[in-house]
């Protein structure tokens, strides 16, 4: 049972369904913009790609007010502790998008200071490919998160989603 509209502007649903619906359409991202990918993340928030269509325009710079961490950039071992600390400060339920090659796998930085994929220290829900991914690809990643919320996935029993590189030019 999802949301059912009746003739008289009534809505019949279950409490957990409406909570899921509300959560899914008001994800507040924590912009963990660490390097160049963050520029595309800004475009994703800006008017052209316009993430407010999905209810996620409220970027929160406090982890305590956000439930989606978009890790956009190269995570070094030194920064990993900061990322984890911010992740720990976010209230449950929380979601993580690994944006870009660096964040997902270390990317072109196959060297000693860069963590070879942030899933070594935080759980990741969606990986977005690209260097940098196009903003529309990140939107796709956000929609994948919304689908996960709709499916009622719980932290800990998550299925990982990989968003392939966008072909739109």
């Amino acid at each position: 049972m999802g949301l059912e509209f009746t003739k008289d502007s009534f809505l019949i649903t279950r409490v957990d369904e409406i909570i899921k619906w509300a959560r899914k359409n008001s994800l507040w991202p924590m912009p963990m913009g660490i390097s160049c990918c963050a520029i595309e993340m800004m475009a994703f928030a800006g008017p052209r790609f316009d993430v407010s269509r999905f209810g996620s325009e409220a970027f929160r710079f406090s982890p305590r007010q956000s439930d989606l961490m978009i890790v956009a950039g190269t995570v070094t071992y030194k920064m990993a502790h900061v990322v984890r600390k911010i992740y720990d400060q976010m209230p449950d339920p929380k979601w993580v998008i690994a944006m870009g090659a660096c964040t997902s796998s270390g990317g072109m930085y196959r060297s000693y200071p860069v963590v070879q994929g942030i899933d070594l220290f935080v759980p990741v829900d969606v990986y977005v490919a690209g260097c940098p991914p196009r903003p529309d690809n990140l939107l796709k990643g956000l929609m994948e998160i919304q689908k996960k919320i709709e499916r009622g996935e719980k932290p800990g029993q998550r299925e990982k989603v990989y968003v392939a590189e966008s072909t739109m030019v």
Binding site: Y77, K78, R110, S111, Y112, P113
Partner: protein
């Protein structure tokens, strides 16, 4: 300008100069390590030369048995619009080099970087800590014998 610099340096520091070379109009002088501060002080404060800007300071690892490391000082004279490169050679057995932070305070972070990456110790530096790597890291990553992917377990990750 080039001749002027060389002449002034040879008159004042004849015994300290080990080698000079020129490539594409850039003058490089290798000097003795223990005299580097005196020479820099002179170059910086001499009214005529006025090398008042330290543009860069870095370490180099040549990975050779003798004088393995070098510290390179790139100076610039705003007054004469002239660049000069100084080098000192550092042996692996004695990694100490006098700090030039007293001459140009911008050397502070450059020397910290060279210390972090090559383990060259700058005597007299006010705050010689690691620049990029975490404090507890035990290696010097830009040395040629450091593996590209690092040493497993030498950098900590948060618990998952």
């Amino acid at each position: 300008m080039k001749e002027n610099v060389l002449e002034k340096l040879t008159t004042h520091f004849k015994d300290s100069i080990l080698a000079t070379s020129e490539y594409r109009g850039e003058l490089t002088i290798v000097v003795k390590k223990q005299d580097i501060v005196r020479i820099c002080q002179f170059l910086c404060s001499n009214e005529e030369l006025r090398f008042d800007s330290l543009r860069d300071l870095c370490g180099v690892d040549y990975y050779r048995p003798e004088d393995r490391f070098e510290v390179v000082y790139n100076l610039y004279s705003l007054k004469n619009k002239f660049r000069l490169r100084l080098k000192v050679r550092v042996d692996e057995a004695d990694l100490h080099v006098p700090s030039v932070t007293g001459v140009w305070s911008t050397a502070n972070w450059h020397e910290r970087e060279a210390y972090d990456m090559y383990g060259i110790i700058f005597d007299g530096h006010p705050d010689l800590r690691r620049m990029y790597m975490p404090e507890e890291f035990e290696y010097y990553p830009l040395r040629k014998d450091f593996p590209l992917m690092g040493i497993p377990g030498s950098l900590s990750l948060p618990k998952k």
